[in-house]
Every structure is written in C-alpha cells, then in structure tokens.
Symmetry: C2
C-alpha cells in the first residue's frame, strides 16, 4: 500500500494506492496555509486520515510537484507554488509521518506512473510528455528514469524549436512550451485571427469546442500545434530512441483534433531509421487518478 501526493498550483491530491489502483483519495488546497511547515502538517494529517479510515498501513509516500528535484528531495523555487524558497519537502513529510517519503518532478512522476501502471508497461525505453499549463517530460532509458547529473533532466518543454521564436516564460525564445502549453495554443488561436469571444473561457477546451463547431482558426490552431509538437517529439526520439511516446495532460485529451494531424507530422519529422520502431499514444491512466498513481510510482524506483 502506497500513498501518492500530487501537488498542483491550486489543489493537492492525496491518494492511497494498491496494486496500481487508487482505492481512496482526498484533496486539500495548496495555498492558504500559514507557511510550508503548516502545509507539510496538513499533508501528514491527510495521509494519516486516509490510512486510518481505510484500516491500512502505507509503506512509502511519493510526492510529485512542479520544480521538484528528486536527487535532493527539494522543491526548488517553484514559480507556480505559494513558497518561493527551497522546500525540502521529502524530509519534512517523512519526519511528520515516519514513512519513507520520495519527492519527484511531476512530469517524471507521470512518466513512472505510465510506465508502471499505464501505456508504458514492459518497455525499457519510454518518453512521456505532459501538455498543460507547462510542457514537461519524463524519459525512461535502459529501464531507468533519466534524472541527469543535477536531477533536472527531461525539460523537453524548453527545447528550442523555433530559433528567435516566441518569448517563453523561462526568459528565452522559441521553446516548445511557448507553442504547446495552454497559453501557447491560445496565443496561436489569436495569431490566426480567432474569435476573442471564444477565449473568454479559460484553457484550451474552448478552442476545441470552437473547432468542432467548424471555427477555421480553431482547427488551424491544432494543425499548427501538431507541427511544433511533431518536431519536438521527433527531436526527442532522435536522442533516446524510445519504443513509445505517451502524451499526458489536458491538451492530450483534445482527441482527434490534435492526434490526427500530430500522427502525420510526427512521422514526417521522424528520421527514417525510427519509422515503425516507435509509436505515439495518449495516456492509458484514468484522468483523475493518473497524477496520484505517478506520485506513488516515485517510491518504486
């Protein structure tokens, strides 16, 4: 029995995981706590309640968070979380619960979740890409998660795909994330003279709805996105040669609008030696549980 904790910008999910299934879960707000110590207290209390209410003992706690460094167990200056300093959250949770606790980057957690329980099972070489507020990635190579020398490998979202291209939130230009994040797709829609009314709703679902209703700019938005993402994925394949690429997160659930042009572009940008040796699929994990399963999978490394 494992506990998986997924820390998001607004809320944090805590789940009890048994054999790749979330058997119980709860949610607490990420912000609004007095400080990071109070947040760690709240996490520990939620974990205690979950195990007590279900009459279970947990052997390990996995925590997935943005800007988390698995080598150090520290959340490093996360721009989208309430605390701006470095938070050694693995140690803080372990001290409060007495249970072994592992902290990891949320995209790496998603990669491990997909690898242990989802579309990556049985593969030694896998690439998972998360498409949402940001673009993240986790690489499995030779049956191991790639952490890199300083624990910060797997930043496919900050691969430059257009030299001197769009400004990115990282301060550089032309990153994949500047095109393939929620913000990026919305910008593309406006650049294609899309209807600003459509964007009164947040996210990209509004663009998908417009596309399904025949909005030409919305359809084009997904075709352009497929081209940029196709380049980024093919470039990543040329580095690690995975057997499968899995897309994860809100934008990946846009269905055929994205996946049909993307499959075509991905093949087009793929070096010929990889043809027939890598496929491109969407996450096989249930939407609500995927992040918890991924966090729990951090403990199995």
């Amino acid at each position: 029995m494992l506990i998986g904790i997924d820390i998001g910008g607004t809320s944090t999910k805590i789940g009890l995981v048994d054999s790749g299934k979330v058997v119980a879960s709860k949610r607490i707000p990420t912000s609004g706590h007095a400080d990071e110590f109070a947040f760690a207290d709240a996490l520990a209390e939620a974990a205690r309640q979950l195990t007590t209410d279900n009459g279970q003992l947990a052997t390990a706690i996995g925590i997935g968070a943005p800007n988390a460094n698995q080598l150090t167990g520290i959340i490093e200056m996360a721009p989208n979380l309430p605390w701006k300093n470095d938070i050694p959250l693995a140690q803080m949770v372990q001290e409060r619960t007495g249970i072994r606790s592992v902290l990891g980057n949320d995209a790496n957690a998603a990669a491990l979740g997909e690898w242990r329980y989802g579309a990556g099972q049985g593969l030694n070489d896998l690439l998972l890409v998360t498409l949402g507020t940001g673009v993240g990635s986790g690489f499995i190579v030779n049956g191991q998660l790639v952490l890199g020398n300083a624990g910060n490998a797997g930043e496919l979202g900050h691969m430059t795909i257009v030299i001197d291209g769009r400004d990115c939130t990282c301060g550089r230009k032309g990153c994949l994330e500047a095109y393939m994040s929620i913000r990026g797709l919305r910008r593309t829609y406006l650049e294609l003279d899309g209807d600003p009314e459509v964007l009164k709703e947040e996210g990209v679902h509004c663009i998908a709805k417009a596309a399904e209703a025949g909005d030409a700019a919305a359809l084009q938005t997904f075709r352009h996105a497929a081209r940029w993402l196709g380049v980024g994925l093919a470039n990543a394949v040329a580095v690690t040669g995975p057997a499968r690429v899995v897309l994860f997160g809100g934008i990946a659930r846009s269905g055929d609008l994205l996946m049909m042009p993307l499959q075509e572009r991905f093949q087009e940008f793929l070096l010929n030696i990889y043809h027939g040796r890598v496929d491109l699929v969407t996450s096989a994990l249930p939407e609500d549980d995927a992040a918890i399963l991924g966090a729990a999978a951090l403990t199995t490394m």
Copy 2:
C-alpha cells in the same frame, strides 16, 4: 589487452589497446576488397598480425563503424561504406578470430572512449558529439550508453533545428547535420558570399585558414555554425541533463574560431537551471588514437 577497429569510409584502423593507450596500430583500405567476407578476412589477419608482432593476446575486439547497430551486431545499409546490404560484422570477425567481438556505432564508440579514457572520465551523465562528414552523438545516462529501444538512439545530427530549413542527406529538412557537417559549413560559407577559390581545398580547414587570414565570410561561417550548434547542444542537454558535453572530430579542432562563439551561444540557449551544471569541452584524446580507443571501449560495456 584489447583490439580496437575503426572503420571509416576510406580506411580502417586496427589498434592494440592497453590501459587506455594505443600501443601498436595498422591501417587497411576499407574498399577494394572482393566482398564483405574478404574484408572480414583482412580484419582478422590484421588483428592476428598485431597481436603476434607484439607478443600479446587480445581478450576482446571492439569495432566502431557508421550505421552499426550494437544491439544486433549488424552494419545496416551504410551509405558511406562499400557494402549496401546488412553486414553482421561482429559475428564475422568473432568467427575468424575466435575472440569475442562487439560492433557499435562510431559516435557511440567515441562517447565510450571519451568516457573511459578521455574528457568524460568519472561522469555518470555525458554527451559526446562528433563533427565531421556527418554529425553523430553518443549519450551516457546513469552510467550507461543510451542505445534506445532499437539500438539506434543518439542521432543528434538529425534533430530538426530549423523547421523547413536546409535539405539534409537523410531526405528531411533543417537537421543539425545540414548545418554542422563539413558539407554544411562549406554551404554556409558560400551562402555568405565566401570566395569559391577557398573551397578548392576539401574539408573545413580551408575555411579556418581563410578566417585566420581575415576573410569576413569565413569568420561569419563559424559564428553562424556556433549558433546552430549552440541550439542543438542546449536542446540535447534539456533531454538528458549531462554534466559535460564533449566535441569530437575534425571540425571540433577548429579551435577558438568555433569554440569562442560557441561557448557564448551555448550559454545563451541553455535553460537557466542548467547554468553552471554542465560544461562544454573538446576531446581530450590524441587525435590519431581516439577512434581506436573508442572502438576498444565498446568491449567494456
């Protein structure tokens, strides 16, 4: 005592390697043999002579070749070698010599050579990039060579760095190799209105000589190259997070002409979280022996 064999387009070097040093070597032509069997016979005979002449026994043979697949031991339809079919060279050499033989991609061999004996010693995460007729790469991740699912990982030369950019020999457009190979640099020089007389000499040394004599187009050629290579290297770092990037091969020996603008561009294109955590150097192996050492290092995996 190991034997390293480096198969190039025109000649093949065979060397006896002891503790990271080439103690004796010889060279045979790659082409001109009746068929691949005759070539394997010649390799086995050269290996036998080297060990006999030096009164040594070799415990293993490592063979580096373009388009070699380490997982299968086969040279797969190499465009720059005399044989157009698939050649199971590891097995052919092993049968003829009775010595365990390992075949690997030449860029992977270079990466292993640099890792065991050169600028990558002691590092768990390393990237080696070869700059020459083609652009190749070998990635060490978690202390292991990255082969990928089908044995063909590490094709940084075919990462798309300019969408819809220059035609590449692979049939696609905008690959790093189309800009950073010998052919690519020569093309850049012409596009910058360089003097066609300079290119009457082969290779890029002629452009370097012109640059040193103050030729503006030649100087610009290296600055443009630094920009494209800077993007490609920074993109690769964002995937595997190596502690060091090592440049290898003829173009890497252009000295400050390339390295001064490259160090600047590399930092510029590098995501901030990698600053100070990865450095960029040129090969620390002696030029003539590097490929033999790399091939020998294939046997130590």
